[in-house]
């Protein structure tokens, strides 16, 4: 079906038959505003993989092998990936839901801990029949997490306390509080381990596995939660009001919506989802509360929500992606011996790129603008183009030397500096920043310096390259400044 057909289909039957949500979805799928963020998320992932590859190169790992094992690991164990994704879906939803109401729940981790602690207590201290027992535990866990989110919600609504700060502070409070509970009043009697922990939950409370050793039925709970959150946001009065408050608090208040009630509720619901994530992990995975059990699923929830654009379905996809990344990471660690924390680096970079979507616009615009410039005014643009290429080559070459074995730390530092200045020079020249030529000169001087240091201390490993680079660089610089002076004379550039 083509875009035209579908939009026609949307327009015509309006008056005759009511639109189904599927038609609306179909129409939405053909809009640019829908695809742009999706595309940008994908580009962010690619960009962060590239930067991570550079970091791996610098650390002496083989990025090609690493990525091969990573992607292989992501695909071969879907159950393992979903196992990692299960809590991430819930914490991601938690952050996304609060965000829809204009609130940043950065302390989902604390709500996770409160929820898991409550569920663990009910899990071992109360005897209930199977099915009912885990459900009770989950409900209590959700309530505990919900209350822990409701408090900052109330403070935000009625006292104006900024939720970014309060949720974060309460998150640490919760971790310390549950630690205390696990260390003193509720500690498993006769326990010998160093890490404080609670007694194991009763078998009746455990959530069984779906398949294999990892994936438990919590995944079903998580997916149902996605449906529920999407429904609440789009189909209920509550969701409508929350979104209205999130977009424009004043307008919502004017329209008779109580923003305070909605904000408190949103953070409460958000906390409940995080609490559910914690409870699910205890019942399905850990089997008891252990101090500091969470590998940061609350914090990762932010990543998931950010990549998923705070959209319930986007969150689901992002969580599965990050889950797969985790599972691939373990495989990569085992085969390519790249530390599992590399996944954290990738994750952090993705968030950074997603945080600034305009990098994408800028790249496209600058690149396009540059091409036009070169075409229209080759005399002026070509030296700049040379500087641009020079920046890239410098960066790549320097990074290459960084990874060479047997170089001193200071030398690596120097080359690292060259690489960074090269990248900066590239960026500035691309955006036609008026002081870009000066950065270019700095880059040339750095090459000169590395060459000198090399010949003095290292016996000229890279001396010839450095010499060639600095000579070429200075030639480009001369051309650059000649062009620049011409442009200043014409009044098109500021001195």
């Amino acid at each position: 079906m083509t875009a035209d057909e579908s939009s026609a289909e949307v327009e015509v039957p309006l008056t005759t038959k009511p639109l189904s949500s599927l038609d609306l979805l179909n129409a939405k799928l053909y809009t640019w505003s829908f695809w742009k963020p999706v595309m940008w998320a994908v580009i962010s992932i690619v960009l962060s993989l590239i930067v991570s590859a550079v970091i791996m190169l610098l650390s002496g790992y083989d990025p090609l092998l690493a990525y091969r094992t990573l992607f292989y690991g992501m695909i071969i164990q879907p159950d393992y990936a979903l196992y990692f994704a299960t809590p991430l879906i819930l914490t991601g939803l938690s952050v996304a839901l609060a965000f829809k109401c204009g609130l940043f729940n950065i302390g989902a981790e604390g709500q996770v801990y409160m929820g898991s602690m409550a569920a663990a207590i009910v899990g071992y201290a109360v005897a209930l029949p199977i099915v009912i027992h885990p459900l009770t535990c989950l409900a209590i866990g959700a309530i505990a997490g919900g209350l822990w989110g409701f408090v900052p919600g109330l403070l935000k609504a009625y006292r104006g306390a900024h939720e970014v700060v309060t949720t974060m502070m309460l998150s640490y409070t919760a971790i310390l509080f549950t630690q205390w509970l696990a260390t003193y009043p509720l500690r498993e009697p006769g326990q010998v381990q160093l890490t404080p922990q609670l007694p194991a939950i009763l078998p009746s409370a455990a959530i069984p596995n779906v398949v294999g050793n990892y994936l438990h039925w919590g995944i079903a709970l998580a997916i149902v939660s996605v449906f529920v959150v999407a429904f609440i946001l789009n189909r209920t009065v509550l969701g409508y009001e929350m979104r209205a408050v999130g977009f424009n608090r004043d307008a919502a208040e004017y329209a008779g919506i109580d923003p305070r009630r909605n904000m408190a509720l949103a953070l409460g619901l958000s906390g409940a989802l995080a609490g559910l994530a914690g409870a699910g992990e205890i019942l399905g995975n850990y089997g008891r509360f252990i101090d500091h059990w969470s590998p940061g699923i609350g914090f990762d929830g932010i990543t998931v929500a950010v990549l998923g654009r705070n959209h319930p379905w986007g969150t689901l996809l992002a969580a599965i992606f990050f889950g797969a990344l985790r599972s691939g990471g373990t495989f990569m660690n085992a085969v390519a011996h790249v530390p599992i924390e590399m996944v954290g680096v990738i994750q952090g970079l993705i968030v950074l790129f997603v945080a600034a979507p305009r990098v994408n616009d800028w790249l496209a615009k600058s690149g396009f603008g540059y091409a036009i410039w070169v075409k229209n005014e080759p005399k002026i643009a070509v030296p700049n183009l040379a500087a641009l290429v020079f920046g890239v080559i410098s960066s790549v070459l320097a990074l290459g030397y960084c990874t060479m074995k047997g170089l001193g730390g200071m030398f690596i530092g120097l080359y690292f500096l060259v690489a960074i200045v090269g990248a900066v020079s590239f960026g500035m020249t691309l955006s036609k920043y008026r002081r870009a030529p000066f950065i270019h000169v700095v880059l040339c001087m750095l090459w000169l310096l590395t060459g000198a240091v090399d010949s003095l201390y290292l016996g000229g490993v890279s001396f010839r390259t450095a010499a060639v680079m600095s000579i070429a660089g200075f030639m480009i610089a001369v051309a650059l400044f000649w062009v620049r002076s011409k442009m200043i004379k014409e009044g098109r550039c500021q001195p």
Binding site: Y254, G491, Q494
Partner: protein, 546 residues
């Protein structure tokens, strides 16, 4: 090669030349369409136009705050490419913005020197070293101590020289509006500006303050400074200006000498036809009381009394207009009635029902609709779709909410109603599921009006309903308001546009200093009398129609 071709005779006479300036905003608004304007040295030049005609945009471009899409700027004979206000400031251009560019928690002196801070070392050293200046240390000067006491001395000197009185050590947030404006003027003088742009300088001032300002401005003129006065009022340029340029819809209509023109001609140029704003309005006998406000006292966001015991009634089938210079408590009065601000004292009755201090939802449910004065801030949730905006406020009521306890949204119903409203009010949209951001200002206001009237209210409160709208949309809104009155609604119209009030209202209440100083019938009063009342003058005689 593009040689700047400025003929010599124009350079000697023109302080500023703007040639072929074009500006389109990212939203697609053509704010300036090929405007060519020459401002002579030493003249007071009026820049007249309605709200949204592009005056401020043009001057912001001259001040370097906005970038132009096309055109040339020549300041004092030198063609310039303004990257930032700094480039304009060094060429002697200063601007006093309508919304003051002052930072309340900082002192007057700190506000004035911002961006041009005197360095203690340099002021001390310069006397010893002669030619040594701040420039020679470059960026380093940023972390050398500021010489605030020298700046304070200079500020006092500048103020005294121009007959102003200001304490440079006081914080801006403690100053009155008039004093703040003085700080703004001093800011430009501190930068040795000789081309002064003033954007709607009188809109927030009391009459005394306006007089003082005019005295100051005429002093500047004697000193040979060039002044550009942006305004949408006809009276001011006729008093002060040598020449007046009129903008309409982003285009320059023409430039005239004050001696050769009249307010009527200017008004014609401004609106594109002779001003006869009178809307067809059949006489109508007002019915029973819809709204009754007694002794209402409301505080503003800063905790000061903004409404000081206001009483009035609105009847069925009448428009009560509240006239007044902005900032005299009208905003707080409306917010106090509709429940956005809790009154400290007094009573609000709608159809005999006490709604004092009730929540906005309760007030809405009692049959009160409200067109807010700021549609972007209050009237619309811009990222929402048009459909979602059209049910805002009624979303929780049948038929838009269904299911148990009306918890679910009825999307089909709201879509159907939205389609109807879009048709009825001829709102230009591609689809009701596109976001409200994509609409033009006029269509956005239509969305607000459509929604508020669709609730079938008994009382309509319209605050500045035509602000920022073009003539066509304004006329549409006026017709709607009168139509509602004819249909028997009570309408409370708050507007800063006196013409609008006079033309639409059945009774006019004038607000000044948080009080209603008079209530008049349009037939019993004159624009002059209303103007005096708005300015806080006691008017002898005249009977109140309470």
């Amino acid at each position: 090669m593009a040689e700047s071709s400025v003929s010599l005779d124009t350079t000697s006479r023109n302080a500023v030349e703007l040639i072929g300036i074009c500006k389109t905003f990212p939203g697609g608004v053509h704010a300036n369409k090929n405007i060519t304007l020459r401002i002579r040295e030493g003249e007071v030049h009026g820049l007249l136009g309605e709200n949204g005609a592009g005056k401020t945009t043009l001057m912001n471009i001259l001040y370097g705050l906005l970038t132009k899409d096309a055109g040339r700027i020549i300041i004092k004979g030198e063609e310039v490419e303004l990257q930032s206000p700094q480039d304009a400031i060094v060429r002697g251009v200063g601007m006093v913005h309508q919304h003051f560019k002052l930072i309340p928690p900082l002192t007057v002196a700190e506000n004035v020197v911002l961006g041009l801070e005197p360095i203690l070392v340099s002021t001390k050293m310069e006397s010893h070293l002669g030619g040594w200046s701040v420039k020679s240390v470059g960026v380093l000067s940023q972390i050398l101590p500021v010489d605030l006491s020298a700046a304070e001395k200079r500020i006092v000197a500048i103020a005294e020289e121009n007959g102003m009185n200001i304490d440079p050590k006081s914080k801006v947030m403690d100053l009155s509006v008039g004093q703040q404006q003085r700080v703004e003027v001093i800011k430009t003088l501190y930068r040795a500006a000789d081309i002064l742009i003033l954007d709607e300088p009188t809109s927030v001032l009391t009459p005394q303050e306006v007089d003082e300002l005019f005295v100051t401005l005429s002093k500047f003129k004697e000193q040979g400074k060039t002044i550009v006065l942006i305004t949408h009022k006809l009276r001011e340029p006729m008093i002060l200006c040598d020449r007046i340029s009129v903008l309409r819809d982003g285009e320059l209509v023409g430039t005239v000498n004050r001696e050769d023109t009249s307010p009527e001609q200017l008004a014609r140029m401004m609106v594109g036809r002779s001003v006869s704003f009178t809307v067809e309005k059949p006489p109508k006998e007002p019915g029973s009381k819809v709204l009754s406000v007694t002794d209402l006292v409301v505080y503003n966001a800063q905790g000061l009394v903004a409404v000081k015991g206001v009483s009035f009634d609105v009847h069925e089938g009448e428009i009560l207009g509240i006239a007044g210079v902005e900032g005299n408590g009208q905003t707080e009065l409306v917010e106090g009635i509709v429940g956005l601000r809790k009154p400290k004292n007094g009573q609000v009755l709608v159809n005999g029902k006490d709604l004092t201090g009730k929540s906005p939802r309760k007030v809405r449910n009692a049959g009160v609709s409200h067109i807010p004065e700021d549609r972007h801030k209050k009237g619309l949730v811009l990222p929402f779709t048009i459909q979602e905006n059209l049910v805002l406020g009624r979303h929780a009521d049948v038929p838009f909410a269904t299911g148990p306890r009306r918890m679910l949204l009825n999307l089909q119903e709201s879509r159907r109603v939205s389609k109807d409203l879009v048709q009825t009010y001829s709102i230009k949209v591609s689809d009701v599921s596109s976001s409200a951001q994509t609409l033009s200002g006029g269509n956005q206001q239509k969305v607000v009006v459509a929604r508020e009237l669709a609730a079938q209210p008994k009382l309509l409160i319209a605050a500045q309903p035509t602000r920022g709208l073009d003539v066509g949309a304004t006329e549409f809104i006026h017709q709607v308001l009168v139509g509602m009155r004819n249909a028997g609604l009570g309408v409370l119209l708050v507007s800063a546009e006196l013409d609008e009030i006079v033309n639409l209202s059945d009774r006019i209440a004038v607000m000044f200093g948080g009080k209603i100083v008079a209530i008049r019938k349009p037939s019993d009063t004159t624009v002059e009398e209303l103007g005096l009342l708005m300015a806080g003058h006691e008017v002898a005689g005249g009977s109140d129609e309470r």
